[in-house]
Structures are given as C-alpha cells and as structure tokens.
Amino acid sequence: MTFEIPNFLPAVPEMFVLGMACLILVIDAFLPDSRRDITYGLVQATLVAAAGLTLWMMGPETVLTFSDSFIKDPMADILKVAVYVTSFLVFLYARPYLMERGIHKGEFYILGLFAVLGMMIMISGHNLLTLYLGLELLSLSSYALVAFWRDNTRATEAAMKYFVLGALASGLLLYGMSMIYGMTGSLDIAVIAAELVAADETLNIPLVFGLVFLVVAIAFKLGAVPFHMWVPDVYDGAPTAVTLFIATAPKIAAFAFLMRLLVEGMGPMHADWQGMFVILAVLSLAVGNVIAIAQTSIKRMLAYSTIAHVGFVFMGILAGTDSGYASAMFYVIVYAITAAGGFGMIVFLSRKGFEADQIDDFKGLAKRNPWFAFIMLLLMFSMAGVPPTVGFYAKLAVIQAAVGADLVWLAVVAVIFSIIGAFYYLRVVKMMFFDDPQEDAKEPIQPSGAFATALSINGLAVLLLGIFPGLLLSVTHYAIMG
C-alpha cells in the first residue's frame, strides 16, 4: 500500500478557516468580557481573508484531491464567497443584538466560524462521507448556537426541537447513503454517477429506495413541506442573531449539498427524483405562502416565507437543466442576501428587553425612521418578487427554467402562490407606511455606525442588483456551465 501526499492546495481556504477557528478559540479563552470585540474582529478578518484566498485561487478548472473526496470547481468557489459574504453580514448584524443583551460571548463567533467551515466542506464535498461530515459540522454548530442563550427558555426549547429533528434527518441521510453505497459499491460521487448509468433495471427499486431517503433528508435540512415543522419553531425561538445566521448562509450550503448529491451523484436518476421535487415544490409554495398570512410574529412569517422560497429553489433544480441549476443558485444567493437584510431589520428595531418580533412592531416605521422603512420596503418587495428589486429576477429565472422543462402548469401554480405571498409582504409595508406608530414606541430610531451602513448597503444591493441583474446572473451561469 502506497501513501501519496495529497494535493493540499485546493483546500487551503478550509485549512485556513480551521486554523483560525482553533487559534481564535484559544485567544478568546484569555480575553476578558470587555474585550470580546477582539474575537469579533478576528473572526471577521478570517472571513475576509478566506474570501481573498478563495477569490485568488479561483479558476475555471475542476480539481479533485484527497482521493477524489474533495472538489474545487467554479461553483464551489462562488458559493463559498457567497457564504463568506452572508456570514460577514450576519456577524455584523448580530453584534449589537448580543451586546445589548449581555450575551456578547466569543462562543457565538467561534461556533459561527466552525459552521462556516462545515458549509465550505459541504460545498466542496465529493464523497458521501465528506458531504456528511460537512453537514454534521454545520448542524452541530447550529444546534449549539440556538441553545447558546442558555437563560432563555424559548431558545432552549427551540434548540431541543432542532436537535432532535435534525438528528432524525441525519439518520435518514446516512441510511439513504448506505443503500446507495450498497448498490453502487462506492462513496465517490463521480463513481456513483457512472455506476448509475451502467446499472441495470433490477437495481432500480433499491436505488430509488435509497434516493427517497436522501431527498427526505435534504428536504428536512432545507425545510421543505412536509418536512418543515421545525422551521417556524426554531426561527421563532432562537435569538434573532442566531435566526439571522441559520436562515441565510446554511441555505447556500444546502443548495451545494443538493447539487453534489442529487445532480452530480444521482443525476442519472433525474427522472426519478424530479417527481418528488415537484411535489415538494408545490407543497412548499402552497403551505409556506398560505400559512405565512396567518402569522403575527414577523420571525414566524419570515420562516414560512423561507419555506415558500425553498419551493422556488426546487423549481429551478427539478427542471434538470444547467440553466435551471444556475437559476436555483441565483435564487438561493438572492434569498440569502434578502433574508439577511430582513432579519437585520428585526435586530434594528429590537432593543434590550424588547425583541420586536411582532409584525405590529413595524407599525409607523416610516415616521420613526423613513430611510430604514424604505430599506425594509425594498427587502419586502424583493421577497414578493416585484421588480425592480432582485427578487423578481430570481423568480423570473426559476420560472423560465420550469417553462423550459415543459412544466408550464408548475410555473402557473408558482405565480399564483406568489400573488398570495405578495399579500403578507405588502402588509408589512402597509404597517410601516400607512399606520401610526404604537403608543409605547414612538420615538425615532437612530442606529449607529457600521450596523446602519451595512444594513443600508444590504437593502440598496437588493435594488441595485435588480437594476443590474446581468452580472450576478452571468456569475451563476458561469458557475454551473463554466
């Protein structure tokens, strides 16, 4: 047996993030509570440097390493950059929230950084086990993050739910993986795909059986109906800073996970999983949009809105074309940016002892701070898919993919539910602009410094990407098609 030294180069960003995470963990242990900003600064610097590394190493070629269990291709590079950017925003938004509540601990950022590492591995995994390890690193960090405000009973309850259901999904995933492994004899994504092409009809039933478990696990992790039960409870129960995190960047990683597993690995069985995704997409669109109307908590509303958005992402994926995958990728990135802004706005409104997690808390915002009411208006219209915000192009892209795959009826269903969805986004705009502020919250809000700047840029990005959508669309097309 020979041992070759693997090519470490493609994984340099991962190794860098891992090294930094461990280093910051040690540094943080020696910092007094008053100097937590050093941890924060180091984590943000790590993300910036990792983004620099990834961008510097970006190239059109596909490189496999570590016995083909790790892949670096344009899609991986671009999705990783998207993860860094959203995580950077999330940490920035989270900081004032944590400080006001006296829970500005190093653990938040360090767990977040480990979660980022997990996401990077999910994005670059080219082997069932690598993918699984990446997912677990992300999941375990997320469970801990949800539970990290330990004096808060609701957060603890949410963490329990998240953990139990997440563990169940992981179990399903492993079970499905083991069946695929049993049928194809390999954990390597490329080998599995080749085996599936060569496989004869008799293997079909056990393979579909394994596939079902994979799809269920993915639907669980992304929160697609009917595996969505945990989403509203966890979003609502977790501290807003943590909701902010689990609602954004992990969706990008989950998209990559789906691409690696189902498109690159199980791609030859597209005809089998397409039908499953049609059902998941329609149910997610319907349940997400309809139930969101009945919510009074903005966090729950955004949770159901996420579920509906997942339905749109699935529409792009199930088309089974490169342009469909690119559309889904565009959608997911746009969603992450918009959701980061949306939850950022909740942080903006909240203060110590007041979570601002009710939709009514947005009442009269236009009188209290017209600029941020405008930002929230942009974010809401983007989620509703109204031009000229970028959300419209995301919907345009996935609908185009569905129509291109001869699924016009699915496109019609999707637009009908997006009209229903428009109502609850409009209601938030209505509260902000047409209603008067509530009695106990009339004073103007003046957010400070970096937070206000970042939130403004985030909101304006939704508009500017909508006026010039060509660039990001070209990037996602390049990522998928080279």
Binding site: A326, P370, L377, F381, V386, P387, P388, F392, Y393, L396, A397, I399, Q400, V403, G404, V408, A411, V412, V415, I416, S418, I419, A422, F423, L426, R427, V429, K430, F433, F434, P469, G470, L473, S474, T476, H477
Partner: protein, 504 residues
Amino acid sequence: MFADWPILSLLIWLPILGGFLVLAAGRDAPHVARRLGLAVAVATFVASLPLWFAFERGTAEMQFQELASWIPAFNVNYHLGVDGISMPLILLTTLITVIVIIAAWESVKDRIAYYMSAMLVMEGLMIGMFAAMDAVLFYVFFEAMLIPMFLVIGIWGGPRRVYATIKFFLYTFLGSVFMLVALIWMYIQSGSFLIQDFHALQIGMTAQILIFLAFFMAFAVKIPMFPVHTWLPDAHVEAPTGGSVILAAIMLKIGGYGFLRFSLPITPDASAVLDTLMIVLSLIAIVYIGLVALIQSDMKKLIAYSSIAHMGFVTLGFFLAFYIYSNTGDWEGASLGIAGGMVQMISHGFISAAMFLAVGVLYDRLHSRQISDYGGVVNTMPWFAAFFVLFAMANTGLPGTSGFVGEFMVILAAFKADFWIAFLAATTLILAAGYTLWLVKRVIFGAVANDNVAGLSDMNRREFFLMGVLAFFTLLLGVWPAPLLDVMNATIDHLVAHIAQSKL
C-alpha cells in the same frame, strides 16, 4: 437632428433620478420640494417635445431606438424605441405629470417631498413601459410602477385607503404574473425577449388562446374591463387627486396599449376567435357601467365608472377589427376602429384628468365628494362652473371636443361590423349625457344649496391654469385631430396588415 440622441433614456431617468433628488433635498423644506419637483417635471416635458417634432410620420418603424445589453444570460436587452402608438402616450404622460405636480402645490400638505418624488418616479417608470421594446424591460416597468402608486394611495388617500390600495396592488399583480409566464414561454420558443420577435412567432391555436388569456388577465385588469373593474372605483375614490389623475389619465391607457402591443399582433388568431367575447364585454362596460354611473352619489366614483365605460369604447374599437373583416372582407374599417380607440385614449387622458382635478378643486374647499353636499356652485364659482360644463360636455362626446372624435370613429367602425353593435355603442352618448349632465345639474346649477357652498371662493390662478391647459388640448384635439392621426396612421396600418396574417 434628434434621432440619434438618447431622448427616451433621458425621459425615463431624468424624472426617476430627479424624484430621488427631490426626496433628498426637500425632505425638510416643502417649498424646495415643490419647486424642484416642478422643475424636473417641466424639464421632462420639454425634453419629450422633440419626440413629437422629430418623429418621422409615414413609417411604422420603431424610432429613437436605443440598444444596450442588459442581462446577457437571458438575452434581455435594454432596448427602447417608440412608434405611432407609444409616442403620443409618452407625451400625454409628461404633460399630465406637470399638471399633477402643480395640482399638488397646496392641496397636499403631508410629506410633500415624498409625494412629488413618488409622482416623478412613477412618470419615469410609465415612460419606460411605453418605450420598452424588450418584454422583460416592459414587464419590469409595468410592475415597478405599482410600488409608487401603492404608496401614493396608501399614504395620501381617503379613509379606506389601505383597503383600496392593497386591492389595487393585488388585482394588478394577479393580472400581470400570468403575462409573465406567457412571455417566458414565448422566450423559450423564440430565444429572444424582443417584442417584435414575439410578433413574428408562429404559434398554434391552443397556445395562442392561452397566451391571449394571459395577456387578457393583465390588460383587462389594467384598462379595466368588466368584470375585473371593481378595483378602479375603490382606488379612485380613495386616491388623492393627483393619484386619481395619473390613474385615469395614464395608467388605464397601459391596458389599451398592451392590447395593441401584445394581444393583437402576437395572438391574432386567438383574438379573431375570441373577439365576440371582447366585444360583448366592451358593450357591457359601455351600457351597464354607464347605468351604474348614473346612480352614484360620490362624484369621484361617478367619474371612475364613466372612465370604465369610456375604456369600453377603446377595447370595442380594437377588437372590432376581426368582426369587420369577417363581415366585409376588407381591413379598412379595422384601422378606423383601432385609430378611434387610440384617439379615445388620448382624449380621455385630458378629459378624465380635468374631471378629477375639478372634483379635487371642490374637495380642497369643502372636503366632501358627495354630490348632495353641493348645488348652485355656479353662483359662487362662475369660472369653475364654465370649465366644469366644458369638460362635462367633452365627457358626453359633444362635437368640437376631443371626446367626440374617438367615439365617432369607433361607432362608425361599429356600423361596418354590425348595426346592433353600433346601436348599443351609441347608447353611451345618451347614458354619458345622462350621468354627466345630471351631475352638472346637481352640483353646478340650481340655487345655492347650503352655507358651505355660499362661502366658496372661485378658482385661483394655479387652478385656472391647469384647467385652461386641459381645456385647450380638449378643444384642439376636438377640432383638429389630424396631426394626431397622422402620427398614428402608419403604425396602425402596419398593425392591421400584421394581424391580417394568420400565425397558425
């Protein structure tokens, strides 16, 4: 000399950027907001004049074209251009916006900078929609203008404004998303989002009918046609005066424009099959909505219903084409009907704007729109009464006013199609006379009804100016419509020649 200038881009972006400038500069200084807003609106109007003078008559080609790559991944371009149908509508938009800005001078008191800015942004978006040659660009402008209108009705509207504005938004959004699916379907077929490529597309009958219905959803809601008109009275009643004027004078025209730009040329065969449906719906709008208008007690609602009835004429004129052809075998009458519909749209832009402004003038003084609160206004406001009577006459289609030209052309075309269609269409002259003159009688004439009316003061110079401008155009178009017809003729002939070809 103007043909190569990016006039259309200027017309789109000047008001949009100007609108944001007004917001930035005038937030805490209302007088700055007013003057800057007016300056931007006037500048846009002046910049739009070259379109009229440098426009080449006698060709159906798109003029003043601009082309830049926008979303290469989907082959979407920033492609602008105007023809004889869209150019007059753009001029109407720039003129009406100036009027709306002036009309808001004193009557809007709350957050004036936001109001001015919303109006200007809306102007840019509407011009962009009329000028777009690319379907995605068209759709972006088409939808984006809902946002400022949503805010205008919701912030400055009447007591039930929230209900009205959400209804307005969802109704129009509902209509347009199906159009989006149809546009994407045609993109998949043709590989391009250029509207003219859609015109050239060969489409089977089933697909044509579905596409026609998708467009119908979008444009019938917008124009609006019976039975999807119910959002309009609500929106009009609750909207502030300026919002009503923009809605009636320009936004309704978008539906008519859409029928001419999309429905007829892309799905001529489906239009031919479904023209009976369209004609029947138009006639219902003319007759039934006319009757509904008769019994209104709210002035704005009455004018709103009158708008729907007048728009019935527009759709009637457009969809008579196939009926005339199958009856007479020639396409002459078809051009007449379409041209009549177009003239009716422009004319209604002036008249409805004037009518809503007139109601606004009264509302500013007494804060009531109820007909029963007025009576004998002529005694205290003689100038106002003169204008009001003029526009009421124009609304009923009196010869010499612009209202007559369009209706006459459409009725003439209807005669070529079928006597009974013409007969029913002509009842509008009676019904419109009924509801409008009765309105005049109850509001303007008679003895002074109460102390409030007795205390009214006549129009000030600002209001006089607005009414005067609109009266000028109403009369000009009424006695001399030839320049407008000149501009449109080539485009309409080309359109008729195009829809005469089956696409099956």
